[in-house]
Symmetry: C2
């Protein structure tokens, strides 16, 4: 039984979005599935002493240009949303709540949220925005609304974020392939080769 | 007359080293030359509010692993030197002093310094170490030793570093291709495509 590829990302991460469009196909080539694991970059940055890329001098303006250029390179729809970056705690909590009920629907929600945010440039930070997108997939809106304030759901996400930091997750996207860690959408070629060869 | 590709790097940068092994061949495919431009990451980090990758929590241990794994992926000789990172001011000054006399020899010195540092893991921080490597290429050791303390040579490097920061250089390696900025050895595929197509 082959292990799934673990795919850690923050919904607010442009490179996480770009990777989300490619990782499933890469894994599938090698008979693997992908476990999507949204996290929050806030606690990760706190643990690693970092800050959002776009708020950094020099790197910030480069990054904004690179997001757009990389998206065009990979033929991915992309609008830099405003506001950006956003808090994605509601999106991530909704994901795990749904995942524990229907993993396929949770992935569909994640893809839909990414498409809404980066494809259309629409805010997905507010709980209402997340619930609207989930409802469009047939999720019970009032059950999700209640879940987003539930301590068990909050703890579920916190556990995932803590676990990610323990595993060394230092940014988004971040992948774990048979115990091997890869950081960045730039590492998808190496992940492809790692899955093909079993490592080098 | 096609513009050369500008290749900014710090001699202490592992990804700069990995890029140095590939950028000339990529440029040559498209009838371009590469202008190697060593800089100092110290002033760049000061301008961008960053610090050496390996000194950062989470990112540091990941980076050390990724250097080695990426080197093996590209079949590049690689030893993580000790001490690391190092001050590369002598190497960079020697490069520009030599460049103003013999550009081809300056590039040969840069390649030799990278091979010494990352291929063999030997320190290239001290002026004496740089002079030894230059002397092995036939450079006049006493003339270089004198040049390394010369204010004109110091200013030459400072001007290059200031100019790089003005151009937005935020790390190493950093490339400028017909005015378009690319950061990271991960962007070599995009640079190849940019040179082939003229941009997208």
């Amino acid at each position: 039984m082959k292990q799934p590829v673990l795919f850690y990302f923050d919904f607010s991460s442009p490179y996480g979005y770009l990777a989300s469009l490619r990782i499933d196909a890469i894994a599938a080539k090698h008979g693997r599935t992908v476990e999507w694991k949204p996290i929050l970059l806030g606690p990760v940055f706190k643990a690693s002493g970092n800050s959002p890329l776009t708020s950094q001098p020099l790197k910030g303006s480069y990054a904004k240009h690179d997001f757009v250029r990389s998206a065009r390179y990979f033929k991915a729809p992309f609008v830099l949303p405003d506001p950006f970056p956003i808090a994605t705690v509601a999106a991530a909590r909704a994901f795990y709540w749904l995942h524990d009920r229907d993993p396929a629907q949770a992935k569909a929600l994640a893809q839909r949220l990414f498409a809404r945010f980066y494809g259309e440039g629409r805010d997905i930070g507010a709980a209402e925005a997340v619930i609207d997108q989930a409802a469009a997939l047939g999720v019970d809106a009032s059950a999700l609304a209640a879940a987003l304030g539930d301590q068990t759901v909050k703890d579920r996400l916190k556990t995932e974020v803590d676990r990610a930091i323990q595993l060394g997750v230092c940014g988004s996207p971040f992948f774990i392939v048979d115990g091997e860690a890869f950081w960045g959408s730039d590492r998808l070629d190496q992940i492809d080769e790692w899955l093909r060869t079993g490592g080098w």
